[in-house]
Structure formats: C-alpha cells, structure tokens
C-alpha cells in the first residue's frame, strides 16, 4: 500500500521542535573522556627508549637527547603531522604519554604553534641557548 507524502507526520512536527543543530562555538557538548586530543609528555618517567618515535606512523615525535645518563630529554611534537592514533601511548611501557580529552581545538594560522617542545624547563632553556649560538658545530648536530 503506497502513500503520497509518507513523511508528513514527522515533517510537520519538526516545525514545532527545536532544530538539532549545535551552535558551536556558543554551545558545546561535553567532551567524551576518551576523546583523542593533543599529546602530552611527562619528562619524569621517560627512559629514552624511543619506541614511540619508531612506532609513530606520521613521524610526529622527535626525541632530542641532551644527556642520556641523567635522563635529560626534550620531546618535540609536531601537531600538524599527528594523526591522533594513540599508538605512541601504547608503545610506551612507562606511561609517559597521553592524549588529552580537553585540548582538541588545535587550529592555527601559522606553523609555529604546531611544533611543541616538551621537557623540563632547564632542558628547554639549554636547547634555546644552544640554538642561539649559530656557529657552534655541536648545535647543528643536535637541533635537526
């Protein structure tokens, strides 16, 4: 038995219902807990095994070794290459990495905010000072 206008009931009632569109960014739904957002690295637990760097499908992680014996590392994270796949979190046996579920609005107009360096403050300071001396041959070896 065929009818003309089978959707009539639903369509007519929609005139009196609120539209389902979410007016982002003024209205936001709460983030699910398992949402895969920006990567965060905890420098205290890292042993420098570089499993995460090896397993990343997009080459988004880079570990810069400052001093292997005393475990001073700086992790460079290229957010524009990251596919948020979560593999690095599972490759790390010490739980240094996690993908945040609150920090996921990562759009930017320039490239600089996309390259994030994680580490202890003194280690990053050390790297910045190294980079500021351009004719030091060791700097070229470290910062590429």
């Amino acid at each position: 038995m065929t009818t003309i206008g089978a959707m009539f009931g639903d369509v007519f009632k929609s005139l009196f219902k609120k539209p389902v569109t979410e007016k982002y960014p003024f209205e936001r739904k709460p983030d699910p807990e398992r949402l895969r957002g920006k990567l965060f690295w905890n420098a205290e637990k890292c042993t420098g095994c570089q499993m995460c760097v090896r397993d990343c499908p997009a080459n988004a992680l880079e570990l810069i070794v400052i001093d292997r014996a005393s475990k001073k590392f700086v992790m460079k994270y290229h957010a524009e290459r990251c596919t948020f796949c979560n593999q690095c979190v599972f490759s790390c046996k010490f739980g240094c990495l996690n993908l945040s579920h609150e920090d996921w609005e990562l759009a930017s107009l320039l490239q600089e905010p996309m390259t994030i360096s994680y580490g202890r403050d003194e280690d990053i300071q050390f790297l910045l000072e190294k980079a500021a001396q351009p004719d030091n041959p060791e700097t070229e070896k470290e910062c590429n």
Partner: protein, 307 residues
C-alpha cells in the same frame, strides 16, 4: 484600497521595481527558513538572499565561447523585466492594481511564462551538454503544467464573470472564499505554481545531482543574479494571484501578508515532503491527473453557471 502614483514611480518603486525585488528576497528567505525548519535544522538568517544577490553582482560575469553574446546578456534582463511588469496588474500589498484593463489576466499569465521561456532559451544558447538537457526539460515542463495552471486561474474568472484581475479580486472579497467552493481548482493552481517555479518535487530542470544546474549552469555574476531575482519575483506574484482568487481577495496590507505567508507555509511543506519526479513522470502526471482535474473543475463551474 487604492493609491494612485505617477506611472514612472509605479514602474520603478512600487508596486514593481525596487519594492517588488525586496519583497521577493524576503519571501525567498521565508521559504528557505521554513524548508529548513521542516528538515529540523536552523536555516539562513534574514539577510541571506540579499547577501547572495550582492555577492553575485560583485562577481565577474564569464561569457563562455560559442554562445551568442547578445542573447546571453539580454535574456536574463528580459526575463526579469517580464516578471516585474506583470506586477503592475495584480493587487500588490492589497492596494488596487496600478493599471487595469479588461483581459489583463491573460497578459499576466503570458508575462509569467516569458520568464520560463527565457530560461529555456538561455539554456539552449550554449554548447554545454548540461544546459541543453536542462533547457529541454524546462520547456517540456512548460508544456505540461501551463494548461492546468491557466484553467485553474480561469475558473475563478468564470465565477466572477470577468477577465480583469481587479474585478475578480473585488468579487472574491465580497463572496464566500473560493477555496471552499472550488477546492480542486485551488489544489491544481498551487501545485502548478510549484511546477512553474521549479520547486521540488518538480525541479527536474534544475536537478543538482544530475545536470549540475540545468539551464543556469553557464551563468555567473549578473546573469545568474537576475535569473534568481526573476524566480523570487515570480514566487511573490504567483502567491498573490492565488491568494487573491482563492482566499477571498486582498483588501489591505495585513490581509496580503497573512494570506500569502499562509500559502507559503503550505508550499514549503509540499517542497519537503516528496522526492524529485523524473521529467517523464512529471509530464505523465500533469497530462493524466492535472489536466483532468482542471477540466473537471471547469465543467463544474460551467454547469453551475448554467443552472
């Protein structure tokens, strides 16, 4: 109610001209907003059609090779002009028509079809396959709904005993609403209006998923803006005619707004309910069902008058 304005003002400002164009844009907004609400989404804001027009006018008009340049530029202008001119004979906003003479119903219907013919010719004027198919479909559709549309507007004229729109308007105002005495005619007129304006489900000539944009594929910039404006103006004029004939005449602006917006509510509902009909299904439906219904209505009126 009637106001008298010098002819130049009535052509350029009210009721044709700038006022009608703005009213057309406003009705397009209401139509799009209603369709969006029926589909459970938000829809555009009030200035969207105006912004579209301004954007299109600011864009470059690209004239493809292989077309007749004069025709390409002239046809949109002709279409819009015909649509705007027809507004001089209808009771716009409830006031008496600016010009009125015996037989102006036929002139108005003719002017409304000029727009569709211009669309068909504009599509035939290119080398592009999509436009050719769109033009063929437009003209095929013109042949199918034109006769029922005319008949459906004719039956109130018969009941009123005159071919002059202002007299039919007065007759409708004074008597029982013709939607109750001639329901079949009302239905045919409303659906034929949707066919004329190429609204879904009769938008085969402009089917986005099959032939890009039909006859309008090659148009951009000013030509496209004028064609779209012409369609909006036709929407207003069509709704006014049907409201004036079937919904008890238009006596004042408030009456006009309420009745035409009520009709627009129904038109938007019909737009969202159906899938698109293929062109052969459209023709089949009109020549089997539409024309028959209109003829039946005509017969009823003729018999009623003879009795």
């Amino acid at each position: 109610m009637s106001i008298s304005l010098p002819p130049l003002v009535s052509m350029l400002v009210f009721p044709a001209g700038i006022f009608l164009m703005m009213l057309g844009l406003a009705y397009e907004f209401v139509d799009r907003k209603l369709v969006a609400r029926y589909q459970n989404r938000i829809g555009p804001r009030w200035f969207q059609p105006l912004a579209d027009m301004i954007k299109l006018l600011a864009k470059e008009e690209i004239i493809p090779t292989g077309v007749n340049k004069g025709l390409f530029i002239f046809l949109p202008i002709l279409g819009v002009t015909a649509a705007l001119t027809s507004a001089l004979y209808i009771p716009m906003l409830g006031f008496a028509p600016a010009f009125s003479f015996r037989g102006d119903l036929v002139v108005v219907i003719y002017l409304l079809s000029v727009m569709t013919i211009c669309l068909g010719l504009a599509g035939a004027n290119t080398v592009d396959r999509f436009s050719l198919i769109g033009a063929t479909r437009t003209l095929t559709q013109l042949f199918s709904y034109e006769a029922p549309f005319l008949l459906a507007l004719l039956t109130p004229a018969l009941a009123a005993g005159s071919w002059q729109i202002s007299e039919i308007n007065t007759y409708a105002h004074g008597n029982l609403w013709m939607i109750l005495t001639q329901p079949i005619g009302f239905l045919v007129a409303l659906i034929a209006l949707m066919g004329k304006l190429e609204l879904p489900p009769f938008d085969a000539p402009e089917a986005e998923t099959e032939i890009v944009s039909g006859a309008l594929t090659e148009y951009s910039g000013r030509g496209l803006a004028l064609f779209r404006l012409g369609k909006d103006v036709e929407l207003v004029i069509g709704l006014t005619l049907i409201a004036a004939f079937y919904l008890g005449g238009l006596a004042n602006p408030l009456d006009f707004i309420l009745k035409t917006l009520g009709l627009l509510l129904v038109v938007a509902l019909l737009q969202s309910l159906f899938a698109r009909l293929r062109i052969d299904q459209t023709v089949g439906m009109w020549w089997r069902v539409g024309a028959l219904l209109a003829l039946v209505q005509l017969l009823i009126i003729v018999i009623a008058r003879l009795l």
